[in-house]
Each structure stands twice: as C-alpha cells, then as structure tokens.
C-alpha cells in the first residue's frame, strides 16, 4: 500500500477506497454536516428540499449540527422570525441546534465535534479551525444541498504542503502572527487547493487556542484547509469533551508532500494583514505608528481564552487611550465564563473596554461600524473595505495582543514594546 497523508487517509475511508492519491476525484461521505442560519440560504434550501425535491425528511439528520450565531441577539421582528423559522425546521427534521453558546466554529470544538480523521463540512470557510484536532474540513458556500440531501459530495484529493514548525512562540506572538507570516510567504494563492499540514515539535508546542487561530485563516493563501495531526494535547481536550478515547490519524512517515516550509516559532516576529484584502500580509514593524480609532478582539479567528488573557496582561493597570473604542467579544459562552472567573474581563473593563456576550455580529460589521477616514485593528476574519461600516475605513488584522497594545497608544503598537 502506498504511503498516504492524513487527508488522503480520511478521504480514502470516507470514499470507501483503500488508497487514494492527489488528483483523484471521489464521492465522499462526510461525518458531520455543520451550518449556521443566514437569510437567503437556510430558509431557501429548506424550501427547495420540501417543494422542489419533495423530501419531507433529510436522510441523515444525525450528522447535522446547526448554530444560531449570526444576527444574534436578533434586532427587530424580521430577524427574530428568521431564527424562529430555523428552530422550527431543525425540530421538524430532528437536527441538533445550538444557540446562545457562541460562534459555532468554536462551539463545535467545545462540543467535541473535531474528531481526528473525521470529514467535516460547513457552508462557511472558517470551519477550518476543527483541523486543530486532526479533522479534515471542506467549506461549501453554495453547494451544500448535495451533501445535505445525498449524504455525499465530490472532492478532488488535494496535495498536502508540510508546514514544519520548530521552537515555541515568544510572549505576545502567536497563531495569528504565524498564519499572517505564512500568507506573506506563500502569497494569496501559494497554497491553492492544497492542505496545510502543521508538523514538528513546534506544532506540538502550540496550544489548542493558537492552533485554531492559525487554521481559521488558511484559506487566504488559497488553501483548501489546514490540519494539525492529533497529539496528546488535542486528544486530551477531545476526551474531556466527549468522554471517549480517540485515536490520532497521521500521515505515513515517508509520505511525499507537495512542498515543505519550515518556521522557527521562537524567532517569529509579529505580522499583520493590511488593507485592502486578506492577502496583503506585512511585518507589523512596517505598520507601527499608524493612527487607529478602534479595536476588536473576538471572532472565530481569535477571541479565545489566551487572546483575552494576553490582552488583560497588557492592559492591567492601564487605561485605553482617550477616544479609542475597544470591543472585546469572547468567542463562546465557555470562554466568557472562564475569562470572567479569571478576572481578565474585569481588567479589560477597568481599562475601558466594551464587553459583549459572544456573537458573530461584530466580525462582519453588523455592529461596531466605523466612519470614513477611521481605522481599526481587528482580530476579525476579513479586512475588505466596508466590512466594518464605511468603505473608506481601514482595517488591519492583527493578534489580540497587538489590539490591546494599540488600544493603549491609539497607534499600531508592537505588544512586546508595551511591557518592556
């Protein structure tokens, strides 16, 4: 049997084959089908299933998990009615639905859905965070009816790029800096259609939070997804959630990767994504001193316990600069509770931050809008013009530590400089 990568093993199992190789086009059966409700999609597909396809029931409801995390909390009757429709439909179909627990991609991890070697799909690209547990993910945007109704979808087996990591992050440098650096090196299409597999001692040194922060943005170098092969850390996280023992799925030792990049985390410098698009990566040092009006710590790409704890360390005993607006939105209810109990949120409130319960709505600009001419540092997922209000407002994507440091000064600031 020929050597296979983790991803190839997952696609072989889910397609019923013994071996597969890059370029093979297969029908595969996903293990989990995740989705959030969003107008124009979910209610439209529910209608198509019922009225065009004449199906009363989805064939694999046990594979589905739905989340209400956008338009949350609803503002106005229209949004309330929309969620009400989703709840009724999920109940009718026998589908699990979670709401009020936070951003679905994070809640999925907390529910233990990121099982090693599982194939997990979602209508949204940021499902890639579940690769932190060795799961393979595929995002759909407009094609989800195929797996919803048929229980299978087609995939071309991707090539795998080995991202070999050494060392440990220095304080206040982390997963966001790593993925921004990878985008800087590979460019917007350097990983096109491929899987980024994170290997080496450095990968095992990364926390679950840092792995998820890194994976959330891998599509911006063109990658299909990213994956950390499960190790003791992720298997322990998972068994605590599921009460079960899980086994890791790993690439064969002699497998041939498409290419390999090596990074020493201990010498990694902070990196950012500058306007106007998520491919515009730059060393943070090139942006230092840029005037900033607003900061956001949250989203499925950050807003995790370590992000909030780091921000609190930076802002402890300080006040954010007068006139600066700092929004801190823990990514899930679990994170909210833990950072509340640790005192980190109290520190941020004392420094002048606005704290919200978890929701996606800050990330895509439903709230925290900016005016023309303003600039933000954000841990959100995207920085395209208009994402946070005016199309003439600039968004710099950075780490949570950089947001906290910049909140002190009102300028883009290296978080390592604040405490030195």
């Amino acid at each position: 049997m020929s050597d296979m990568t983790l991803t190839e093993k997952t696609l072989a199992r889910t397609s019923g084959n013994t071996t597969v190789k890059p370029g093979d086009v297969l029908w595969v059966e996903p293990d989990s089908i995740l989705m959030y409700d969003w107008p124009g999609f979910t209610e439209v597909y529910a209608d198509i299933i019922k009225n065009d396809l004449k199906m009363d029931k989805l064939p694999y409801p046990e594979k589905f998990v739905f989340f209400i995390d956008h338009l949350w909390p609803p503002s106005g009757e229209k949004e309330a009615d929309f969620h009400h429709g989703t709840r009724n439909w999920a109940k009718e179909q026998g589908i699990k639905l979670y709401e009020g627990l936070g951003i679905g991609h994070q809640v999925s991890a907390e529910l233990g859905l990121g099982v090693p070697g599982n194939l997990i799909i979602h209508g949204d690209m940021h499902v890639q965070v579940l690769g932190a547990f060795g799961a393979s993910t595929v995002s759909f945007m407009g094609d989800f009816l195929t797996p919803w109704v048929l229980g299978r979808f087609w995939v071309e087996v991707p090539e795998t790029i080995n991202i070999k990591l050494e060392g440990k992050f220095q304080p206040f440098v982390g997963g966001r800096d790593l993925i921004h650096k990878i985008i800087y090196d590979l460019g917007p299409d350097g990983g096109i259609g491929s899987v980024l597999e994170f290997t080496g001692e450095g990968a095992q040194n990364m926390s679950i939070d840092e792995r998820m922060n890194t994976l959330c943005q891998v599509m911006f170098c063109g990658a299909l997804n990213g994956v950390f092969p499960a190790d003791d850390l992720s298997l322990q996280y998972l068994s605590e959630r599921t009460g079960k023992k899980h086994a890791s799925v790993k690439s064969d030792p002699d497998v041939q990767y498409k290419t390999e990049y090596t990074y020493d985390l201990s010498s990694l410098e902070p990196y950012a994504i500058a306007p106007p698009n998520p491919g515009n990566a730059k060393p943070l040092k090139e942006l230092l001193g840029t005037e900033i009006n607003q900061g956001y710590i949250g989203s499925c790409a950050s807003g995790r316990i370590e992000d909030i704890e780091n921000a609190a360390r930076i802002l402890k005993g300080k006040k954010i600069k007068e006139g600066f607006r700092l929004f801190v939105v823990p990514t899930s209810k679990e994170i909210l509770e833990k950072t509340m109990n640790s005192g980190a949120l109290a520190t941020l409130v004392e420094a002048g931050a606005f704290i919200s319960s978890p929701t996606c709505d800050f990330c895509y600009g439903k709230t925290q809008s900016m005016s023309a001419g303003e600039s933000a540092v954000s841990t959100g997922t995207l920085n395209v013009p208009g994402r946070l209000g005016s199309i003439e407002a600039d968004i710099y994507l950075v780490s949570a530590s950089c947001v906290a440091a910049s909140a002190c000064t009102g300028k883009i600031t290296d978080p390592r400089d604040i405490l030195s």
Binding site: V25, G142, L145, I192, G193, M219, F220, T381
Partner: protein, 168 residues
C-alpha cells in the same frame, strides 16, 4: 454530450480577484438582484451592461474568487446571460459553489495573455479547449471532472440532485 459556449470576452479580471467588487463591496448586504443590476461593474465601466451580450464569457488571472465571495456577483452575471469563466486558477470554495450553479468554470493556463477583450471565443467545456476566432488559435485548458459536468448537464444543483436521487 458536449457543452459549448460561444461569445465575446466581456471582461478580463486580474489575479486574486474578489468577485464582490463586481457589485461593490459596500453593496454586498443587498441581496435583491434587480436592485444590484445597475451597479454591476459600474465601478469599472458605467456602460458595461450595454456592451455585454448573452453568451459572453469572462476571463480572469490566477485565484479568481479569492477572499470571502458572496453569491450576488455570479448570480448577476447569469442574469445577464454569462455562464462561462475561463481563469488561470480558481479559489477552491468559489469553484465548488459556482459550478453547482451550472457556471462553466474552466482552468486555462495563461489565458489572460492569449485573449483580448471582445475577442470571440468558442469553448468546448467538457474537453477543456478554447478556440479564439479573432486570432485563429486554439488554447488548451484543463478538462473538468465528470461530477462538474453533471451540474452543467442538469442546469445546476437542483436538477443534478434530482438526477442522482433517481439514478442512485
């Protein structure tokens, strides 16, 4: 079954193009296509809609559909009558989503250097070949997988799924 597309090159997009710019990112929360139609390509050319014809073809560089693409841009193109895009490569999620809408997305290496705007092209999609009538040259693309042809053959995902449910 052969899928042929004949038309002029309506526009040539650069590398890493975010399709939301077709309607303007500031308008992306609008989902009513009739309201968006006058804005289609208006940031580039105010009379684009009068120059484009049913059957026209879009051409693009590498990584077309990069970013976090929304549905409106390609839905508008289909409403205009554009059903084919030739690009040097496509962003993976964009590709999956739009072929499901029966858009004929064909990977054609170096296509941006081989055609000019308003050239008349003939595309044989299932073979992955392009013929430029203006320059009388043939260009080889990458033939799409059989599953993609299924979406085209059945005019998109609903017809495709109906067929799959019927044939098993």
């Amino acid at each position: 079954m052969t899928f042929e597309y004949k038309g002029q090159v309506a526009w040539i997009f650069p590398d890493h193009y975010d399709v939301d710019q077709i309607v303007g990112i500031q308008n992306i929360r609008e989902t009513d296509l009739d309201k968006l139609m006058p804005l289609c390509m208006a940031d580039y050319e105010t009379d684009f809609l009068s120059k484009v014809k049913e059957g026209d073809i879009l051409v693009a560089g590498k990584n077309f559909g990069y970013g976090h693409p929304h549905f409106q841009a390609m839905a508008l193109m289909r409403k205009i009558g554009i059903w084919a895009v030739l690009a040097e490569s496509f962003a993976p999620t964009f590709y999956r989503s739009e072929v499901a809408n029966a858009m004929a997305l064909l990977v054609v290496p170096d296509i941006t250097s081989k055609v000019k705007r308003f050239d008349s092209l003939k595309v044989i999609f299932d073979e992955g070949t392009v013929y430029n009538e203006k320059s009388d040259t043939s260009i080889n693309g990458v033939a799409p997988p059989e599953m993609v042809l299924g979406y085209i053959k059945h005019n998109g995902i609903i017809g495709f799924i109906k067929d799959q449910l019927k044939t098993g």
